[in-house]
């Protein structure tokens, strides 16, 4: 079990060792985003920007336009709340900035709505050159981070505060734009991203392990081929994300299905209202995003009358 923010904190140090152009910026949350490990190892290449995310994002863009590979870190909510700076200084400048947003979703628990990244994927998905990734475990986080350094251009990685079970070993290969078909089944295809992959895996196990489960780590670009292949071989597609149902994974899948003229049923699991405080377990249960919650929602979808 390891939080993907912890994986980031360790992997970015390795990336810094391998590539002298890697620099890191944080806005007074380095102990939470775990960028503090880089700060300790490379104090000259770490920029503490204070609680001033707009200036941090612009500064990262200037560093990138000068050949550096900056990782700009904060909670996803605060980072993507500076949309104009990301839109202009990063995206339109084609600046090679890597945005690191931690504390994804309601799963952060007690701190409540204001600290929860719930629209981060939606707003960034609107930008034409922004890639978006959400890993489901330690190994996948490391591989995504490595690919972000290898592939020039703006990108966002969405990380969890809470610990996640291990899914992958070093044989796994993350490829941007490709999803991982975790278990191949029939009737229902469950597509989860980040910690919701684990809820989907748990739900599938509870219901007899007969459905397909897919890990959607690459939220932009999405795996169009796999979505259409799932649509042609299943009667129901269910997306699951700790994010508003508008603009995130569910919307991205809906766009692909609609444009292809698919008649396969789609149901989206995600947030339909604001988050709230509680223990992470209680909050995930309340919003039916934990394993049992996904089971409940899935059974409801399966009971729906179809024409």
């Amino acid at each position: 079990m390891k939080a993907t923010r912890d994986s980031f904190g360790e992997e970015v140090v390795k990336l810094g060792e391998q590539n002298p152009n890697v620099v890191v910026l944080d806005a007074d949350l380095s102990k939470s985003t775990k960028s503090i490990k880089f700060a300790q190892k490379f104090p000259d290449r770490f920029f503490q920007m204070g609680i001033a995310e707009s200036n941090m994002i612009g500064t990262a863009a200037g560093l990138a336009l000068s050949g550096k590979i900056p990782f700009a870190c904060s909670f996803g909510a605060f980072l993507t709340g500076r949309y104009d700076q990301i839109r202009m200084a990063v995206s339109y400048n084609r600046a090679n900035v890597k945005l690191v947003g931690t504390h994804a979703g309601v799963a952060i628990g007690e701190d409540g709505h204001s600290q929860m990244g719930l629209e981060d994927v939606a707003v960034l998905r609107s930008l034409p050159n922004m890639n978006i990734y959400q890993p489901a475990d330690d190994e996948e986080t490391n591989q995504i981070l490595r690919s972000m350094v290898e592939q020039a251009g703006p990108a966002y990685i969405r990380l969890t505060r809470q610990k996640l079970p291990k899914v992958y070993d070093s044989n796994y290969r993350f490829v941007p734009g490709k999803w991982n078909l975790h278990t191949k089944g029939s009737r229902v295809a469950l597509i989860g991203t980040g910690h919701l992959l684990h809820s989907c895996l748990e739900a599938n196990a509870v219901l007899g392990g007969k459905f397909s489960v897919v890990n959607a780590a690459s939220l932009k670009p999405v795996d169009t081929d796999l979505i259409l292949s799932l649509a042609s071989s299943h009667e129901l597609i269910v997306t699951a994300e700790d994010h508003y149902i508008t603009g995130g994974l569910g919307s991205a899948v809906a766009e692909v299905l609609a444009e292809a003229g698919s008649r396969t049923r789609l149901r989206r699991i995600g947030l339909r209202t604001f988050g709230e405080s509680g223990s992470p377990e209680d909050v995930l249960k309340h919003f039916q995003l934990d394993g049992p919650g996904v089971v409940t929602q899935l059974e409801k979808f399966l009971a729906e009358k179809t024409n």
Partner: protein
């Protein structure tokens, strides 16, 4: 190519050049049927001074690693920058008449991807200073002696992000960063002193621990003396006192000329006044 190419420079004492570039600004905005004459005419003398030897640059190698950077944070003043860059030979002068036309590298506000001669895309105000700061940090990391100049507008510095950067640049001891305020006292809705006063401007930046200088932003000889100045360990902020619409009598200090293109007759009148 870089090692053979020459460092380009304008002549700050050439009044005819300054007049000609003012005419270029008006002609290109007329051609584009839109643009911002007031704030372009107020910053043109600043740009001419910078590119008269203060800024090291090579027009045939825009990405020359040892160049000094000029970030026009007040992106709407870009006709002035385009006029200077064309004069230096970064691109053919006839491109100027494509300003704001579909497919032109000369976008309404600067776009570095379409025109590498500009350093950064700007135009959503308040952001260029942070970008310039990032460039200055990168130069320090790389132990390069190059400098970064950033031109901000007075209305622009009402943006909060400017004051975030005002706090951070002294923290990072960015003595390779010089910000020049084009203090023309005008913005779209009226005089900046009424919309949201910036005063006491010198005291504010001094309080943020900047090296603060003042200069007449149309006195190019004075700017040749003031703009190169640096002090060790601190960034520099130059208040350049300017006149919006400077050089064309019917545009000077007239708020309505902030963002309106001259029509045929107005262009002719302006060009006659400039004696061209």
């Amino acid at each position: 190519m870089g090692s053979q190419s020459k460092i380009a420079s304008l002549n700050p004492n050439d009044d005819k050049l300054a007049t000609r570039l003012r005419a270029d600004i008006l002609k290109m905005i007329h051609s584009g049927k839109s643009g911002h004459p007031g704030g372009s005419l107020s910053c043109i003398d600043i740009l001419i001074s910078l590119f008269s030897g203060i800024v090291k640059c090579r027009p045939d190698d825009p990405q020359w690693s040892e160049r000094d950077r000029v970030v026009l944070s007040k992106g709407h003043g870009v006709p002035a920058l385009y006029a200077v860059l064309a004069e230096l030979g970064y691109f053919p002068k006839d491109w100027l008449m494509t300003l704001r036309h579909l497919g032109s590298p000369l976008q309404g506000h600067p776009d570095v991807a379409r025109l590498p001669a500009v350093e950064a895309a700007t135009g959503s105000l308040g952001q260029g200073l942070s970008i310039a700061q990032g460039m200055a940090l990168a130069l320090k990391l790389d132990k390069m002696a190059s400098r970064v100049f950033c031109i901000v507008g007075d209305g622009e510095i009402q943006e909060g992000q400017i004051w975030e950067a005002a706090m951070s640049a002294p923290k990072f001891k960015l003595d390779n960063l010089t910000v020049i305020l084009d203090y023309n006292h005008g913005q779209i809705d009226g005089p900046s002193d009424e919309i949201m006063s910036l005063e006491p401007i010198v005291d504010k930046w001094k309080a943020f621990n900047w090296n603060v200088l003042e200069v007449d932003g149309h006195d190019r000889r004075a700017m040749m003396d003031v703009l190169p100045r640096q002090v060790s360990g601190r960034p520099t902020f130059v208040v350049a006192h300017t006149i919006k619409g400077k050089g064309v009598s019917f545009m000077e200090r007239v708020i309505d000329w902030h963002g309106v293109a001259p029509n045929d007759e107005q262009l002719q009148n302006a060009l006659e006044e400039l004696k061209l």
